[in-house]
Amino acid sequence: MSVLHDLALGFQIALTWQALVICLGGVVLGTFVGVLPGIGALAAISLCLPLTYYMEPVHGLILLSGIFYGAQYGSSTSSILLNIPGTPSAAATCLDGNPMARQGRAGQALFIVTLSSYFGGMVGIVLLVAFAVPLARFALTFGAPEYFAVMLLGLVAASTASPGSAVKGLAMMVLGLIFGMVGTDVTSGAYRFTLGQIELTDGISLVAMAMGLFGIGEVLSNLAAPDVPQPPNRGFRLREMLPSRREARQSVFPAIRGSLLGSWIGALPGTGPAIAAFVAYATEKRISATPERFGTGAVEGIAAPEAANNASVQAAFIPTLCIGIPGDAVMAFMLGAMIIHGIVPGPNLISEQPEMFWGLVASFSVGNLILVLLTLPMIGLWVKILNVPRHVLYPLIIFLICVGVYSVNSSVFDVLVAVAFGILGFIMTMFRYPAAPILLGYILGPLVEENFRRTLFISNGDFGAFLSSPVAVTCLGLVVVALLAPAVLALRRRQTRAARG
C-alpha cells in the first residue's frame, strides 16, 4: 500500500495550482513545438531551462518534462497532414497517417493518434511507478565499474542506434565527450581546453550549447531547406473526427501492443521514441493478416507507433530517475537540469526526495490528461499553427534564444558560444551527422571519466575490475555487440552486392 501512499503525496504536489499552471504551460509549449516541423523538444527544453532557475526544482522538472511528452502528442499532427514528422519520433506515423489524410480521414487519424498516445503514456507511467522502487534498490549495489559500464552502453547504443551512419553517430558522441572535458578537471583541478578564456574554466554552458545545436542550428537548417506546404484547414470539428466503430476496434490491440513494446524499449539505454515507434510499426505489419494494407492508410499503422513513442518517453524516465543514467539526449538534458538545481540523480533520489520523484510522476498523469483535453477539441487551432509565417516564427525563436542564453549568466561570451554551436549544428545536418549524441556525450562525459578513474584507483590499476560484476560484464558485452553490429551488417551488404555481380 506504500505505493498508494506515495502517489497520494505526489498528487498533493502535482495538483497545487502552481504545478497545474506550469504543467499546462509545459504541455502546451511541447505540443506547439511538436506540431512545428523542424523545431524539436530539445530546442524548447533548452529555451525554458533558464526559466526554471526561478522555480522550485520540482516545478522546473514538471515544466521541462511536460514539453518533452507534449511534443510527442503534437508531432503526429504534421506527420498526418503534411507527411513531414514534427519530431523524428513521429516519422513512422507518416507512413499510414498521411495516406489517411489524403483519403479525407485526417480528423479520424488525429483522433485515434491522440487516444493511443494517451493510452501509451499511461502504460509508461504505470510501469514507471511499478519498477522505480525495485530498480533503485537494485542500483544501490552499483559501484564505479557498474556505473561506467552502464553509461558506456548508453553512449554507444544511442550513437549507433540512431538512423543513419553509425560512424558519424559515434564520432559525434566522442566529440561531445571532448566538449564535456572543457573546464576544470574535478579530480586534479587542472584546466583543460580553456583556450585561456576565464569563462571556460567552469566548462561550456549547457544552455549555450543546447540552444546553439538545437535552436540556432535547427532554425538555420529549416531556413535552408525547401519550403513546407500548407496544410488543409477543414474537417477538424470534434463530431467530424470520430472514427467509425470498425476503425476504433482495429486500433485497440495495436495500441496495447505498441504501449508495451514502447515502454520496454524506452527504458533501455540508448533507445528513444523514434526507435520505439518504428519497432511497433514493423511488429504490427509483420503480425497483421493483411500486411498489404500498411502504407495505404491502415489504422493499426498509426495507433501502434503513437502508443509506442508516448509509452517510451514516460518509460525513459525510469533509468534517469532510478539509476541516474539517461538513455537519450533529452533525458541527459533533464539530468543536467537536475544537477544545476542541486539535485543528485541516482538510486537515492526516491528515498531522499520522495516529494520530488512522486510529484513528477503524478504530474505526468495530469499532463497526459490535459493533453487529451487540449488536443481533441482544439485540433483546428493546432493545425493553424502550421500556417504561422516563417518570417515571424524564426526571428521570434532566434530572439528568444538570444535573451535566454544571455540571461543565464549575463554573459555575451555564452551567446557567442551558442553561435559557434549553431554553425556546427547547421553544418552537421547538411552532412547528416546527428546532433543528439554530442549532448549526451557532453553531459555524461565527466561522469564516465570520474567512474573510470575511480575504478582504476580502487583496483590499483587492474583493468579486471571492470569485469568484476555480472552487470558490468553484460553491459560491456553489449557495447562490443553494438560496435560490431554495424560493421558486420555493412560487410554482409558488400558481400551480397559482390555476389550479385
Binding site: S165, D185, R192, V403, S407
Partner: protein
C-alpha cells in the same frame, strides 16, 4: 535573389571530416601535455588523449563515407544574415540595450527574406522588444537595460 539553392557535394563533407580529424589531433596533443598519469592514478590528460585518438579514427572512417549518400540542395543565404544578427545582438545588448540590439537582429533576419518588408520588420522588432521588456525585465527581474549605457 536569396532563392539560390546550392548542391552540397562531396568536397565540403570531406573538409568537415578533416576538421573533426584535426579536433581529435588537437585533443590528443593537449591530453599528452596535460599528463596521462599512471594506471592506478589516471591523470587529467588520459581521457582527452584517448578520446582524441578515437575521434581521429572515426573521422578517418567518416572520410571514406563522404559523398556516399545523395547530395542535398540547400539555401545558404539565410544563415549569412541570421548568424551575424545574433553576433550583433550579443555585441549590442550591454552597450546599446535591448531595444537597439533587437532592432538590429530582426532587421538582419528580415534581409534573409526574398522581399524585404521594412515596415513589417520594424513592427516585429518593436513588438518583440516590448514582449521581452515585460516578460524578462519586469516579469523575471533580469538585469538588462532597455536603453544601454552608451546613451
Amino acid at each position: 535573389m536569396h532563392h539560390t539553392f546550392y548542391r552540397i557535394g562531396r568536397l565540403p563533407e570531406l573538409i568537415f571530416a578533416l576538421f573533426l580529424f584535426a579536433i581529435g589531433a588537437v585533443s590528443a596533443i593537449c591530453g599528452w601535455s596535460y599528463g596521462p598519469g599512471r594506471l592506478n592514478d589516471i591523470g587529467p590528460g588520459a581521457f582527452p588523449l584517448g578520446l582524441g585518438v578515437f575521434l581521429m579514427i572515426l573521422a578517418a572512417l567518416a572520410l571514406r563515407e563522404a559523398g556516399t549518400e545523395s547530395a542535398l540542395s540547400r539555401r545558404l543565404a539565410p544563415a549569412c544574415f541570421y548568424l551575424p544578427g545574433v553576433i550583433l545582438w550579443a555585441l549590442l545588448i550591454e552597450g546599446a540595450g535591448l531595444l537597439l540590439a533587437t532592432l538590429a537582429l530582426i532587421l538582419l533576419c528580415s534581409f534573409a527574406e526574398e522581399q524585404l518588408n521594412l515596415k513589417r520588420a520594424l513592427l516585429l522588432s518593436l513588438i518583440l522588444t516590448a514582449v521581452g521588456y515585460v516578460v524578462f525585465i519586469l516579469g523575471f527581474g533580469l538585469t538588462f537595460n532597455l536603453i544601454g549605457d552608451w546613451f
